[in-house]
Amino acid sequence: MNGTTATAALSVANLDRSFGGLRATSDVSFDVAEGTITALIGPNGAGKTTLFNLITNIIRPNAGKVLFHGHNITGVTPARIAAMGLVRTFQTARVFPGMTVLENVLVGRHRLLHAGTLAQMLWLPHTRREERNLAAQAEALLDAVGLASYRDTHAVDLPMGAQKLLEVIRALMAKPRLLLLDEPAAGLNDSETEELAALLRAIRETGITVLVVEHNMSLVMNVADQVVVLEAGAVIARGRPDEVQRNPRVIEAYLGSDATTQDFDAQDSDAEEARP
């Protein structure tokens, strides 16, 4: 990992955003080097999701800018940002209701398809071929995360953890250059979390840069090349996982004083995911 060469895949500079009196992020700056996995951690309400929303311009920052491979994407519409190759998932899995698992995955590729609506209406051979190839790729991805047998299931009928995996591979179908994942492990059990770690490494192997928000410390320590710690909207530490793990400010932020690193795992939290 050498984050200082060339331009970073993502560079966040002085991002600021307040909601009423609450300063959700204040002066946040960090870089994500190309081809690495960066983990964004912090206690509940630290502003991690807000940061994702600012990067993808779902919420406008009050100040600061975002560079994606050197291009300034501050103020660009979310769809255009996605089209540039910056794709995200959401903390609460947002699969599309009314569609099957397979169809959900296929939506990911939408922007890269060549066939026009008119060609599809005429059932032209090349559109059908494209659809078939696409379905094959989607099924391969579903297979990789063990969801292949659910391809025709209504997506919202999947358990929460599976929905989050579905969202990850849907994002992968978009062939991103940079993938933002918001708590992908929430709702997964230990062995599934292991598989997710493997998946993340495989994603990195293919050259995709990953920025992941995660509460599961063993996962973070396992896969991350860089960890950025956020507390109350501000970056309080960043560096290699082992450095961050030893950083007293981080330990304090997470556990109050006098804590050991072992207790990190106790912080696994997906309680805020509670849904009716």
Binding site: F96, G98, V107, D157
Partner: protein, 634 residues
């Protein structure tokens, strides 16, 4: 000057009633997030009940008024408990809006059955002689109206601001989830709000009754005026609703006096569209901003309806052959004609399904495009001898232009505001159809429209039209099936439920919506043209708001998001009066009732139900593994 003041007074009187109806809208909206389109039905129901109690049972005015109000409130409470409240827990807001449209249709149909279609007039509460106040003549009923409005507003304010019940209601309005956590029984509060709205509507109906003529469809007019009023004023605010009502009343009166009564509606609707563009949430804002990144509660109640391709092809083939052979066993007559009509309406329904069933964009003004297509083609054929085919194309082109212009307004709108804008569009077209009588023949319609013809061949018998429509329907279904099963259809379905997640994957939401809207407009236009050629006649009410609502009912009953399903709904509602003559007067009631019933019991519609049945028949042994996923659930 006195003229001006006289107009002002008249405007305020009408405006008070609009304000009351608007208040009912706002109350239900703030507690549930749903526009209850049935609001106007409460007014007319109370007024007509009051009339019957007076005329038939000889009750005095005050007793009849109270009786009318009481019965309406009871009817409102029952309807609310049986339909509105259960619907809220499983239907999306767009579907709730359509269900409310179904309730309105149902009420309209019920009134048609009970009271017939003739107009009624009620005597004023205290005589016909107007009182003179500072040189201005004010009808005494006007004083009753203003007094009642003020009293109702005061009572409502007291209830909401000063009582425990009111606090609970307000808590529900501000944040239902939090209210639930605080131990408030949200469904009960919802029912209370609905009933309260029924009460306000009933009061408005009873006091305004002597000042207007009452008919089965007056309820729709009340609903529309109230809806327009809240949209102008700001639905999320009570003062806004009242302001909107008064403003609308004034605009109506001044426009009627200084421009023309034919266009006073058009002017009010123009005002509405301007407000929607300029301040989509109305003149008085809510002061509460919603979190953008949180998904709107996506209630999923429908199942996914998918036929396996071989099954779909075989079924389609059998259906097509059956349809082609049908006329050989059918006598040429009412039934064949109804089938032709159903087939023509299906073209509009296809477009509506793409727009509403797939892309999730509510449209209550689809008949507006039918009118554009119908009048354009018919007028060109009648007045200028233009070949029908060219006329059809001209109509489609004009509809496309109108759709794109309307998109400037609607693209920024979602959900109820979109529904409102399309409704306003339909009404606008309607008022032009009535107003421009040189071109359209006015209210009595355009006569002498020739048969459809292509290159010398005239489709002048129901049988030839039947085959024309059959081929057209089949080709259109094939075309759209191709696009729907590929990326186009997936993108539409994605934006239907989650525009933000779709955008985050790079789906061009604006382009998708525009395409769906343009397609639906052109198909409706085509349908409208054929409709005119088939009937050799076209009048505004054939392609008015009632038609728009009927299309929605057909779509939902047949099964939205299924492409061919709406045909079943279309056939059912068109054939019913043809097959069972005695049922003809019940048609409106049934189409509303079926719509509501489908939303509550069969959200996939008839087609979805049939497919589920077929699926059970063809159930393969390799069923997907059960979804247990121990530990996967959080």
């Amino acid at each position: 000057m006195t003229d001006f003041i006289q107009l002002l007074v008249g405007g305020v009187l009408t405006g008070s009633i609009y304000a009351l109806i608007a208040l009912g809208f706002s109350l239900v909206y703030r507690v549930t997030g749903v526009i209850n389109l049935a609001q106007g039905a409460f007014c007319i129901l109370a007024a007509l009940t009051c009339h019957s109690l007076q005329a038939e049972l000889g009750w005095p005015v005050w007793a009849a008024s109270l009786g009318g109000i009481a019965m309406t409130v009871a009817a409102g409470a029952i309807t609310g408990a049986l339909t509105f409240v259960p619907g809220l827990s499983r239907l999306s807001n767009a579907n709730m809006l359509m269900m409310a449209a179904g309730l309105l249709t149902m009420a309209e149909g019920g009134i048609l059955v009970l009271w017939g279609s003739q107009p009624y007039a009620l005597p004023p509460f205290s005589g016909n002689r107007p009182v003179e106040i500072a040189g201005i003549l004010v009808p005494t009923q006007g004083l009753w109206v203003v007094g009642t409005t003020l009293l109702t507003i005061a009572c409502l304010w007291y209830l909401l601001a000063r009582t425990r019940l009111g606090r609970a209601l307000r808590a529900c309005a501000e944040n239902p989830a939090a209210a639930r956590l605080m131990g408030i029984d949200v469904p009960r509060m919802t029912l209370l709000a609905f009933t309260l709205a029924a009460f306000i509507g009933a009061v408005a109906g009873v006091v305004i009754a002597p000042a207007t003529s009452l008919q089965f469809d007056t309820g729709r007019l009340f609903t529309i005026s109230g809806f327009v009023a809240v949209a102008i004023g700001g639905i999320a605010s009570f003062p806004g609703s009242i302001l909107g009502g008064l403003l609308l009343g004034l605009v109506n009166h001044f426009a009627t006096a200084y421009v023309s009564s034919l266009f006073s509606n058009a002017i009010a609707l123009g005002l509405l569209l301007v407000v929607l563009v300029w301040r989509p949430s109305g003149l008085v804002g809510a002061g509460v901003t919603r979190r953008q990144d949180v998904r709107e509660e996506a209630r999923v109640w429908k199942h996914v309806v998918r036929l396996k391709p071989p099954v779909a092809w075989i079924t389609a083939g059998i259906a097509l052959v059956g349809a082609a052979l049908l006329p050989t066993v059918l006598p040429e007559g009412a039934i064949l004609s109804s089938l032709v009509i159903a087939g023509i309406l299906f073209i509009a329904l296809l477009g509506l399904d793409i727009l509403m069933g797939y892309a999730g964009q509510v449209s209550l003004g689809q008949a507006g495009f039918m009118a554009i297509g119908g009048y354009t083609a018919a007028w060109l054929a009648v007045e200028h001898d233009v070949a029908p085919l060219l006329g059809v194309l001209a109509g489609m082109a004009l509809s496309l232009v109108c759709a794109l212009v309307l998109s400037v307004v609607t693209l920024r709108l979602r959900g109820l505001y979109l529904a409102l804008a399309t409704l306003a569009f339909g009404l606008l077209v309607d008022s032009f159809a009535i107003g421009f009588s040189d071109i359209t023949g006015g209210p009595s319609g355009l006569v002498g429209i020739p048969s459809f013809a292509v290159g010398g061949f005239e489709f002048d018998t129901p049988l030839s039209m039947y085959y024309l429509v059959l081929v057209l329907d089949a080709v259109l279904v094939l075309l759209f099936a191709g696009a729907i099963r590929a990326s186009f259809g997936r993108a539409l379905q994605a934006i239907r439920t989650d525009q933000m997640a779709a955008a985050a994957l790079g789906v061009d939401v604006v382009k998708c919506k525009l395409t769906a809207f343009a397609i639906s407009a052109m198909l409706a236009s085509l349908s409208g043209s054929l409709y005119a050629f088939f009937f050799h006649f076209l009048s505004p009410e054939m392609v008015g708001t009632a038609r728009s609502l009927e299309l929605v009912a057909m779509l939902v009953i047949g099964g939205e998001g299924t492409l061919v399903g709406p045909l079943l709904g279309g056939i059912l509602l068109t054939m019913m009066p043809a097959v069972f003559q005695p049922l003809a007067s019940y048609k409106t009631f049934f189409s509303g009732a079926l719509l509501v019933l489908c939303f509550l019991r069969l959200p996939e519609g008839l087609f979805g139900g049939a497919v589920a049945g077929l699926g059970r028949l063809f159930r393969s042994r390799q069923a997907p593994p059960a979804l247990v996923g121990e530990g996967m659930a959080p």
